[in-house]
Symmetry: C2
């Protein structure tokens, strides 16, 4: 089963929010969808899930257009930041509502998750804190029978222990019933431990799409005296540059393996979070004071 996003664009009046996004999502992978606030991630997820229309482009599941196609849409589920649930229903009723729409619901696994997160299923959704709203929504997302599960900021407001529980159960259910999970998150270091594919969206376009391993190996920091750093990185892809206390740092993408490093320079790998920050820094504000 393959979900193909082909040249999807979205325009609001003069503003191009998405610009010809093309992507393929396959069953059996966990995708980390990264991007700045305002990069267009939520718009893309809403288009894929038929909540808003694309200005142009298509979303196709195994040859079938997804928009307004109930059968295809039944394979897709979006846990979004918006609270679309009726406020007055308690959590158990939300499970039943989901079952009603998707035809089935994994109550056995839901019971495990309810115990693990210590959430009371008789609590009304509107009475929950930010963290527990996220928990209620992600329990539903993990128990729905769909094959493509999109999670938009699933860990918003969760404490570190709850995030740990979520990641463990996500991997557990993914092993038992392979699906595609597409997770949009600002907690970049944590997503690298569970996602095998990373998609970076910046200013409405795909900036990079690669395996987590490829991206982890891609970025380095070169530190040393300015002239020496500039000479060494002259032919490389420079993402960002900083100067602090007489030392210059240049952030390089696709660092050529086996480079011979001059003695006055240090080259060290970037965490994925640092890579992301420096890769998307052109887009906007200065990181310097």
């Amino acid at each position: 089963m393959t979900l193909t996003i082909a040249q999807v664009s979205k325009q609001y009046r003069d503003v191009k929010v998405l610009d010809e996004i093309s992507l393929t999502f396959e069953i059996g992978h966990i995708y980390g969808l990264l991007g700045r606030n305002g990069a267009g991630k939520s718009t893309l997820l809403n288009i894929i899930n038929n909540r808003i229309f694309a200005t142009s482009g298509t979303v196709v599941l195994d040859g079938q257009k997804v928009s307004d196609n109930e059968k295809a849409l039944n394979h897709i589920f979006l846990m979004s930041e918006d609270n679309l649930y009726p406020d007055d229903l308690n959590i158990l009723k939300l499970f039943k509502l989901t079952e009603h729409f998707y035809g089935s619901f994994d109550y056995e696994f839901a019971a495990h998750l309810v115990r693990a997160f210590k959430i009371n299923t008789k609590t009304k959704f509107k009475k929950l804190s930010t963290g527990y709203r996220s928990i209620a929504k992600l329990i539903i997302a993990l128990c729905v029978p769909a094959d493509y599960i999109f999670l938009d900021e699933p860990v918003l407001g969760l404490d570190a222990s709850h995030r740990d529980v979520f990641y463990k159960y996500l991997l557990d259910t993914f092993m038992k019933r392979p699906r595609a999970f597409i997770i949009s998150t600002h907690l970049i270091e944590e997503i690298t431990t569970i996602a095998d594919e990373i998609v970076i969206i910046d200013q409405g376009a795909i900036m990079q799409s690669a395996t987590t391993e490829q991206i982890k190996r891609s970025g380095v920091r070169v530190v040393g005296p300015e002239a020496s750093v500039l000479a060494f990185t002259k032919e490389m892809t420079v993402m960002d540059q900083e100067t602090l206390g007489g030392l210059t740092t240049i952030y390089v993408q696709n660092y050529p393996k086996n480079s011979i490093v001059p003695e006055d320079l240090t080259v060290s790998p970037l965490t994925l979070q640092d890579y992301f920050i420096h890769m998307t820094s052109k887009a906007g504000e200065s990181n310097e004071i």
Copy 2:
């Protein structure tokens, strides 16, 4: 200037939310306030800031009781998760409102921050996304003339680049005008890079209060065959235990330096986040599947 919290308790009907909390906050430190969702952090911050009353105990600033004492309260500021601002005001009007209450406001620094975060000061607060609401609130918190700045989940919804900008400006303003910052957050790894003191609250009580360095050195993971792990850690403070694929892991607090490790065991340091997760695991849900 010293802010002393002495034996503060809070009871709601049968539930003891805070149980004799005693703490001292000094100017010139950045404190990380850690705790599970529901541990009592926000209740404590609301009591210190005179938004709710303690059932017993006192909050004292340099010998003066803080509760209902306008002069003392002028030294304290709380950025909370609750949106207490009038929805219809734009950000610039919120700056002016803050100036009105606190007597002054650092408009010059605010202008820097507005540019760094690329936020439009003419936008009404209610029109902002979760991330930008946090940004508006933290700009106010950094520009207010108070000496004790309490930040409750300041980076909720912020992307990684915005968090980076925030941490840099926080350290910058802290260097220029030393205050006490007390930051409650679920992003534990990130707080360890800026806080020099850590307070862990669990189930309404202080579980640990120490320097970041002390806590970083305190926790280890001992891995190996069950019998050998149990024998080695018998006299140690065990926080948590897991078994996976025939290997047992025991999480130890206050690991004795210079311990002689048997050949079939590995001992490795814990990140502060792992330390926190395993230290507070007794409180609640199982981390196991």
